[in-house]
């Protein structure tokens, strides 16, 4: 009797704790959006943090897997670069204003980024994937350019052993002071440059400008720059996006990024501009020349500007990446998945619908087949679901669409424990035992079998939890938790109810 009381107390306590863990979720997911908006931000955030965490496949958002391109670098170097990449990308994402991004290292050279609610995929890719290596190079003098380009032409002619045709120079045009290549010739010129690469004197580097439209024709400027940069993005103390309001009419009203250099940068910039008045200084971002303005006079203020952005958004993005700093190595997006918010809520709806219909059928079946005992099993199943969700919330597990499937599957599988017990009790009653001893032997005999029969499913679920990626881990998680919970609810809890009925209520017959 005393023990029964203790057992009831345990169940009630566990139940109360479970409900406590679930309250934030219930609050958060049942509040109408209007009252959510009225709540102070910190309160919403704290509620959101304690509420059940939904996976990207349910709440919508973007999942990116980055790989650090550190060919030939030793492992430790790559790992260092990876950590630095994580730090920089976190800064960039924070500056962009994404709530609850998840950024984590995967192995030595990969970074997984999850951006809930983000659907601007292009923007996100740019923001995250951009190395943002900013350098300032002097453009070579016209006669130097002529010499080098002639040299390239000569070497290419030697290679094809034909001096009558002009492979390289014929593709180049002069346009408003720039040497440009038509977009349709870009690929072939690029290939020629690769071939000619060994002959380009070491102090120079050939870089492309941004693709532009001039007079209705798509072109790309081509630049010969001094290889060693005069200044790099390291010295940037601030970057802001704004609208150009200076004297150049061609830039009027265009989005730009204003840069401020730190103390050391200001000194270098001032010296470089002083010594090179009249020359062009190319602003190079990730090996693309953004612009190459003429230096008109010494700039002592430590301010520079980057033009050529298509939109204010792009300027904002560039300002963010410049301020957060350059990635220590280029990165490649090797996997990208995104789910729209509407599909996410559709998935939740479908999952809940399938869950409710499935559960109702199972409940009806249990009630019809096992009568009152079936109702006890149903009660246990209901408790199981509550405990399962509360465990998810308590341990910050993520609920995904396959996770919902795992919960639904739990409903079908968890009744197995009660089926085993009830079948056993029926047999014991049939063999002429009293109700009390039938129930006791039923439970004790069935226990081992239940353990046995569920263990393999748990093993499979744990393997999934271990090896699975993304949403599928959610399946392993809910399925294993569900079955583990069923040991408590389907065995411990239902036994209490039977004991109570038999020992306290002195029931002479149970409907089973």
């Amino acid at each position: 009797m005393k023990i029964l009381r203790w057992r009831i107390l345990v169940v009630v306590l566990v139940f109360i704790i479970a409900i406590l863990f679930l309250i934030p979720s219930i609050q958060y997911y049942t509040l109408p959006p209007s009252s959510l908006q009225k709540m102070p931000k910190e309160k919403i955030n704290s509620l959101r943090k304690r509420a059940l965490h939904l996976g990207l496949d349910l709440r919508g958002g973007m999942h990116l897997l980055l790989e650090i391109k550190g060919d030939g670098l030793p492992k430790e170097k790559i790992r260092d670069a990876r950590d630095r990449v994580i730090e920089i990308i976190r800064n960039r994402i924070d500056a962009w204003g994404i709530f609850e991004p998840a950024i984590q290292a995967i192995g030595d050279a990969r970074v997984l980024i999850q951006l809930p609610g983000v659907m601007e995929r292009e923007r996100a890719r740019e923001l995250i994937g951009k190395t943002a290596q900013l350098t300032f190079h002097l453009v070579a003098e016209p006669e130097e350019i002529q010499n080098v380009f002639n040299l390239i032409e000569k070497k290419l002619q030697e290679q094809i052993k034909d001096t009558t045709i002009s492979p390289f120079l014929s593709c180049l045009r002069y346009d408003r002071g720039d040497i440009v290549v038509r977009e349709e010739n870009f690929d072939s010129v690029q290939k020629l440059l690769e071939k000619a690469f060994p002959f380009i004197p070491e102090k120079y580097i050939v870089l492309w400008g941004r693709i532009e439209e001039r007079g209705g024709i798509k072109i790309r400027p081509i630049y010969l720059l001094k290889k060693i940069p005069e200044l790099t993005g390291e010295y940037i103390s601030d970057a802001r996006h704004t609208i150009y309001q200076g004297q150049d009419p061609s830039l009027q009203g265009r989005p730009i990024v204003e840069l401020s250099f730190d103390k050391k940068g200001t000194i270098i910039f001032s010296r470089v501009t002083e010594q090179n008045v009249g020359k062009r200084l190319a602003i190079v971002l990730d090996n693309i020349v953004q612009s190459a303005p003429f230096i008109r006079e010494r700039i002592p203020t430590g301010n520079a500007m980057i033009s050529g952005m298509e939109s204010m958004e792009e300027a904002k993005e560039l300002a963010i990446v410049l301020k957060s700093g350059a990635l220590p190595a280029p990165v490649e997006i090797v996997e990208e998945r995104s789910v729209g918010p509407l599909l996410g809520s559709d998935s939740i709806k479908n999952g809940i619908r399938a869950g409710i219909i499935g559960t109702i059928i199972v409940f009806l079946f249990m009630a019809i087949y096992y009568l009152f005992s079936g109702l006890i099993a149903n009660f246990a199943l209901l408790l199981n679901l509550i405990f399962l969700l509360s465990l998810l919330a308590a341990f910050k597990g993520t609920l995904t669409l396959p996770g919902i499937a795992g919960i639904i599957l739990t409903v079908g599988m968890a009744v197995d424990a009660n089926v085993l017990i009830f079948e056993r009790i029926r047999e014991e009653i049939a063999s002429g035992k009293s109700i009390k001893s039938a129930v006791d032997t039923g439970y004790s005999r069935a226990f081992v079998t239940i353990l046995d029969s569920n263990l393999t499913t748990i093993i499979a679920a744990i393997v999934l939890l271990w090896f699975g990626t993304g949403p599928i881990r959610g399946f392993g998680l809910t399925l294993s938790l569900g079955i583990i919970c069923s040991f408590f609810t389907a065995i411990f809890v239902t036994k209490i109810i039977f004991d109570y009925m038999i020992n306290v209520k002195k029931v002479k017959k149970i409907y089973i």
Binding site: D57, L65, R121, E122, E332, I333, V334, E335, E336, R337, S338, V339, G340, L342, L343, S347, N350, G351, R353, A354, G355, I357, G358, T359, I361, V362, F365, Y369, Y370, L371, L401, P402, A405, I408, L409, V411, G412, M413, V415, D416, V419, E423, E427, T449, D452, S453, T456, T457, I458, I459, A460, V463, L464, W466, F467, G468, T469, P471, F475, G476
Partner: protein, 287 residues
């Protein structure tokens, strides 16, 4: 309520019939898998997916024609639930956003990009390894468990049955032209874990009865299967009910996964009733 008053079905007597069915299913599954070959999803091959929803219905031909215009004639188009929803699988270097723009302009309709996936070829290969690794480790753990839990003959038979269940499920999926994706692999692994359960329950009962009752293995096995029959059918039944609910109501994303589970549960239940004990019986007699 009871399904069977006192069931007394001669399961083992019908074993040759069961062997024939299993044999045919198994061999044809192996042939289908080998000849037709499984169709792998982009998780494993690498590639791109765009799931889109049109504002109104469009036939697959219209969608195909539109794609062909931009050089994506090779893209695979799949109706996804309704004539509004499509899944486009492709490998061209085109961003799904530009697809949407083209549809919007050419068909003059609102289009929503619901889901995109882009898996690089290297990641695809890694996911392949990972899936194989997961299935192998799952299998090995099951084997270890079986080795502890069963005697030798039952163990070997249970493993055979497990193999039988997984191959037939896979065969069905390949036959139905379903894609093998990560969720499908997860379903197969779940089946491995689940279908062994019924075999355990039956074999436990046989062992218990061998100690209690006198009689031939044949009789005792038959009796044990009958005794556990209602449990086997109820548990498989409730599991099947929820899996069918998932299959029909759970939405298109979970469809292949639920289908794999449905087939696996049916095959697994059948094999643990008709095949496992029967095989042990025949093995026993040969000695």
């Amino acid at each position: 309520m009871k399904f069977f008053k006192t069931p007394n079905i001669d399961f083992l007597g019908k074993r040759y019939f069961a062997y024939a069915i299993s044999g045919i299913l198994f061999v044809s599954s192996v042939l289908i898998i080998l000849i037709k070959g499984p169709k792998y999803g982009i998780d494993f091959t690498g590639g791109k997916i765009a799931q889109i929803r049109f504002e109104k219905d469009f036939s697959p031909e219209t969608v195909r024609k539109e794609l062909a215009k931009i050089g994506m004639g090779k893209a695979e188009i799949q109706k996804y639930g309704s004539e509004k929803d499509y899944l486009i699988k492709y490998s061209e270097k085109i961003d799904p956003d530009s697809l949407i723009k083209i549809f919007k302009k050419d068909l003059n309709v609102e289009v929503e990009l619901q889901r995109t996936e882009n898996v690089g070829p290297r990641v695809g290969r890694e996911l392949q390894y990972k899936a194989i690794e997961a299935v192998l480790i799952g299998m090995i753990l099951m084997l270890i468990y079986i080795a502890f839990r069963f005697n030798f003959k039952f163990g070997v038979t249970a493993v055979l049955a497990l193999f039988h269940d997984v191959i037939i499920t896979l065969g069905f999926l390949v036959f139905l032209n379903r894609e093998i994706t990560i969720p499908v692999i997860a379903a197969l692994l779940t089946i491995v874990g689940y279908s062994i359960n019924d075999s355990i329950i039956v074999s436990d009962r046989i062992r218990e009865n061998l100690k209690k009752i006198r009689g031939s293995f044949f009789e005792i096995a038959n009796k044990s299967i009958n005794q556990t029959l209602s449990r086997t059918i109820i548990t498989s039944g409730t599991t099947l009910v929820v899996v069918l609910a998932l299959l029909f109501l759970g939405g298109p994303i979970l469809r292949d996964f639920s289908l794999a589970l449905t087939i696996g549960i049916i095959v697994g239940t059948y094999s643990s009733i008709y095949v496992v004990a029967a095989l042990v019986n025949d093995w026993q007699r040969k000695r």
